[in-house]
Symmetry: C2
Subunit: 403 residues, 2 copies
């Protein structure tokens, strides 16, 4: 059976908000202020772009949750899954005994002052918090709003809301796992179609446009990135796509991803363009390719609950360093993925966070030979009960493209 | 001659950076810290998405400008137009006597601490600033970076960098005007094609997808938004596009825009779907349409240097209020546009900023009859020496679509 359900049930938002409020209390925070972005989508289902008009979910320790929105967004706020699930301004929130109140403000209102009013001492006491407890700000809130809130709330201490939300968001629930799987496999079909198509004589930019178009056709709502790094451009890990024309004898790094129902895909394959002349990969390229593949496989195999995140990085790095290419692997081996393409947990030296069941992240070692070419292979991996679950289905075998 | 040049000459970045440093001194700031986003693109030409890795242009009052980037982005940073224009780490910056130094950091470095080091008292004195002068943060810098920088720079006072950059960015130079014109007219061709096509029986979402695709075909790099508000959905100014099917007798609000070489388009037309049955617009719709058109025209005609921004809003509002629809015009009449779809100056009550030659903004009055339909008409207007220059070419006549 092919899974196609893109919905997150409204009750799931209730459960997340309840868990969020428990975490606020546990961490000793007074409240969280969550602007438009992935944290807000996680907690409420509200989808939007950040803008100059403040839009803020105010989550105190206990008591009513307020959703402060510009009048223009009020109808949309009332239609969010969370608002629907709790009954706006009415029913209790997931046993926590609150409600979600939509507070719409006009173009000339001072929204930061309204937030300060919501967090005023008298009200705060009723919310079980005090002026000494930090207020958490969502990680992506714009500086213009941060500074405005700090001015409206003098003397209050602010901390990243991720200190509270990280532990919730980095462990994916069943709905999130389903959406990540759908997104990963839509990206797999995209990379497989590109590797089965014609490449010789086309520019990187042209292939990149085809990737973006296919990401959408395969079910993504947005085509977020489509890196095509041919020949020497493959040695730049964050290369985008240039006017360089692909030729027979080029290795090409394809690193692509999009957003499907809010969840990101991120897949990298390195292919070899043999062309009609059937130019074979040279022995060093083959050697490096197999090395990266081995590093990717060993790092993936190391995934299980309790293993420190940095251990996944160290495993891949060990394989590559032992073969003498340590200096050519210039980035961390992976990043968490979910509602953001890069999020906690990061697979990087210094991150001792133990992996937990349901964490999802990339495993993407690479070797970059400046001025020549690069090889990177990337899958999205979830931490299962006894080991890794790889969300991707696209083969890691070296593909030689004739067209 | 059709203008197709999408480039901004490298020297332009030098001139902007020089003007920025003058403004830093004039406003009494110590330095600006500019993260990835429109401010950074404006000053350097660097294009990217904000992320968890800090990327920051550090612009002190005088002396070297530093561009702090993750190692992965160093090659891209070296290739920015500004770096190219000044010679990295070398030549003087536009007569201000500085240079741009690229500082690349590794995955495990503390980037905020590096910024603090650059702004340390001894160095600051050499830069002509003191610890009492505020540090400006780019408006869109993420809270996680704001809080990290505040922690690394205890005791320093932070203000929005827009206090310094607003006056520069809201007046468009000749290159920016050219790109805004290109973008506006690409959006015009898109809306004209939609109004000339088939609509009956299609969902809003389907028409929205066609708009996004045409925005790209007409020359945009990104299709940012494509609102299709048919029938009662037209009464929600921030409606996106739903599964509602368009029928004969529907008014439809089309509000679309994309990014072309960094610059935004934003065009709204309201059309009437007559269908093959040739259903005529009812008299109230015609009346409201002409009213909005008149308000749009009068507000546009009021544009000239020295007129307060709020006067443009008041002009449109006066026309609509006099006809008894004041309560149905629920938003400001316009927003500045450039590297952001909404930016200074805002045409809104309370903004007394006098218009200046080269300011660019939307003029978009609307009337919304809840549960029935809405009408909005929007052009992008620049303030010329003696009056408005309308960047759009698409007709404001009511179009009745048979297909």
């Amino acid at each position: 059976m092919i899974e196609t359900n893109r919905q997150i049930p409204p009750d799931r938002y209730l459960a997340r908000l309840a868990a969020c409020r428990e975490a606020i209390a546990e961490r000793g925070f007074g409240a969280l202020l969550i602007g438009v972005g992935p944290d807000l989508r996680y907690l409420t289902g509200f989808v939007g772009d950040p803008m100059e008009r403040l839009t803020l979910l105010v989550v105190p320790r206990v008591g009513p949750v307020s959703f402060l929105v510009p009048q223009l967004e009020a109808a949309k706020a009332r239609a969010t899954p969370l608002s629907g699930a709790v009954g706006v301004g009415g029913a209790g929130v997931g046993g926590v005994g609150g409600a979600v109140e939509i507070l719409a403000f006009e173009e000339t209102d001072d929204a930061a002052a309204m937030v300060a009013e919501l967090l005023a001492p008298a009200r705060s006491a009723a919310n079980g918090s005090t002026a000494r407890q930090p207020i958490g700000l969502s990680d992506r809130l714009w500086a213009m709003h941060v500074l405005g809130l700090q001015r409206a709330l003098p003397g209050r201490h602010f901390e990243p809301a991720s200190a509270v939300l990280r532990d919730l968001r980095q462990v994916k629930d069943a709905d999130e796992a389903r959406l990540l799987r759908l997104a990963a496999q839509a990206a797999d079909r995209t990379v497989d179609a590109i590797a089965a198509g014609r490449l010789v004589g086309r520019t990187e930019a042209d292939v990149s446009r085809e990737i973006r178009s296919r990401l959408i056709d395969e079910g993504h709502d947005l085509a977020d990135f489509a890196i095509v790094g041919s020949g020497p451009n493959g040695a730049l890990p964050h290369h985008d796509a240039s006017d360089r024309t692909l030729e027979a004898g080029d290795p090409v790094v394809l690193d692509l991803g999009g957003t499907l129902a809010g969840y990101l895909s991120d897949t990298t394959r390195t292919i070899w363009v043999s062309g009609e002349a059937d130019i074979e990969p040279d022995p060093e390229f083959r050697h490096v390719y197999e090395l990266v593949r081995d590093a990717q496989a060993q790092a993936t195999a190391a995934v299980r609950p309790g293993v420190p995140a940095e251990q996944i990085d160290a495993t891949a790095r060990g394989v590559i360093a032992a073969a003498g290419y340590g200096d050519c692997f210039t980035h961390r081996v992976g990043h968490g993925i979910g509602l953001e393409v890069h999020e906690d947990p990061y697979m990087v030296a210094g991150n001792a966070t133990p992996l937990r069941l349901g964490m999802a992240f990339s495993v993407e070692p690479g070797i970059y030979l400046t001025g020549r070419w690069g090889v990177r292979l990337e899958n999205i991996v979830m931490c299962g009960p006894d080991g890794p679950e790889v969300l991707n289905r696209s083969s890691l075998d070296l593909r030689e493209v004739r067209g």
